[in-house]
């Protein structure tokens, strides 16, 4: 099968090709630009010489020798000025770009973390907003159990009076007072520190407290 010119990735078109771009405008190689400028200067000195000999077959002929003395403004196909080779990014520009990119990445990561925190907070607020009357009654019942525990520890403390004589007895009394305060402390601190957790989590910690702070001295009657 014969391949047509349109099948080639690179084709050599001429002015009849609608995609044809004049070589002077499409050439991006700075080395060729330098060579072209030198050649043009040579042409400027000898304006009578045909331009095709100096610039090659692919170059546009230079019409007027007076235009050679003025630095030509190079433009690309879009009409904007082309980058000169001296405008290549310097080390400062590269470093500034690197810092800007890293800052942007950090800012993006922070935004993602903020979004995650917001979602978590929204979930917690939704959970706390849905504190149904059933959950409220459950917390009340558990609080009542802790209150009964407090009374139990108070009775046990009164049953076993100590007469402080030394550090051990004093510390025994301190432990007795701490045990009286233990149910209330567990209840309040659980609701305080787990305020943003789900109701089930708070309830589990309260049930653990009900098991831990049972007043065994009151139950055993000793």
């Amino acid at each position: 099968m014969k391949r047509g010119p349109d099948d080639d990735a690179l084709s050599w078109g001429d002015e009849s090709d609608p995609t044809y771009v004049a070589p002077d405008l499409a050439d991006d190689d700075p080395a060729d630009d330098d060579l072209t400028e030198v050649d043009r200067a040579d042409v400027g000195h000898d304006s009578a010489e045909p331009a095709d000999d100096a610039t090659g077959a692919g170059e546009q002929p230079i019409e007027d020798a007076t235009s050679v003395g003025v630095e030509p403004v190079k433009q690309d196909a879009a009409g904007s000025p082309r980058w000169a080779s001296g405008a290549a990014p310097t080390a400062e520009v590269v470093e500034a770009n690197r810092v800007a990119v890293s800052d942007a990445k950090v800012r993006q990561a922070d935004a993602a973390e903020d979004a995650a925190v917001e979602d978590e907070l929204a979930d917690a607020e939704e959970a706390s907003a849905q504190l149904s009357s059933a959950a409220l009654i459950t917390f009340g019942v558990v609080g009542g159990v802790f209150f009964l525990y407090t009374i139990g520890w108070l009775v046990a403390f009164i049953r076993n009076p100590l007469h402080p004589g030394g550090f051990a007895e004093v510390w025994q009394d301190v432990q007795g007072v701490a045990a009286i305060a233990a149910p209330a402390l567990w209840f309040l601190v659980t609701l305080l520190l787990a305020a943003r957790r789900r109701v089930a989590v708070r309830l589990i910690w309260l049930l653990v407290g009900i098991v831990v702070v049972v007043p065994w001295p009151f139950i055993l009657g000793v």
């Binding site: 800012r107 993006q108 922070d110 935004a111 973390e113 903020d114 979004a115 925190v117 917001e118 520890w153 046990a156 051990a168 510390w171 025994q172 301190v174 432990q175 007795g176 701490a178 045990a179 305060a181 233990a182 402390l185 567990w186 601190v189 305080l192 520190l193 831990v212 702070v213 049972v214 007043p215 065994w216 001295p217 055993l220 000793v222």
Partner: protein
């Protein structure tokens, strides 16, 4: 952070308002125990050590009384006293681990509850000991 702030695109957030958000994020994810947190831990460690000293003095006194009477201390009763010694250590380690990323105020509350729980366990074991030995 309010809902209005959360709806602003990240690119539109000015630098001045984006910077204070960093400590807030770190406060929930990567916070470590600071100097105040360690001071709280050390102060409560002293109180927990008093509990251990109390239990050790009980152990020495009970062993001395039983040896003077020439009677062997029952093993369950001995285990209750050993439990009184171990309880402050276990509870303190749990509280220390549980407050590794907590604020100092929260750590104070957790150590306080732990101290009360140690007192509860100690008095529980003492009551069990009295019910075991009969006095």
């Amino acid at each position: 952070m309010t809902d209005a702030e959360s709806t602003v695109p990240a690119s539109a957030v000015p630098e001045a308002s984006a910077t204070p958000a960093k400590p807030e994020v770190r406060s929930t994810a990567k916070r470590r125990r600071g100097r105040a947190g360690w001071i709280v831990a050390v102060v409560f460690a002293v109180f927990y050590a008093f509990d251990i000293f109390e239990a050790l003095s009980n152990l020495v006194g009970v062993l001395q009384a039983y040896s003077d009477a020439g009677v062997a201390l029952p093993t369950p009763a001995l285990l209750t006293i050993i439990g009184q010694i171990a309880a402050p250590v276990v509870v303190f380690v749990l509280a220390l681990w549980g407050t590794r990323r907590a604020r100092s105020g929260s750590a104070v509350l957790v150590f306080l509850v732990g101290f009360a729980v140690v007192a509860v366990i100690t008095l529980d074991l003492q009551s069990v000991f009295r019910s075991l030995v009969g006095f």
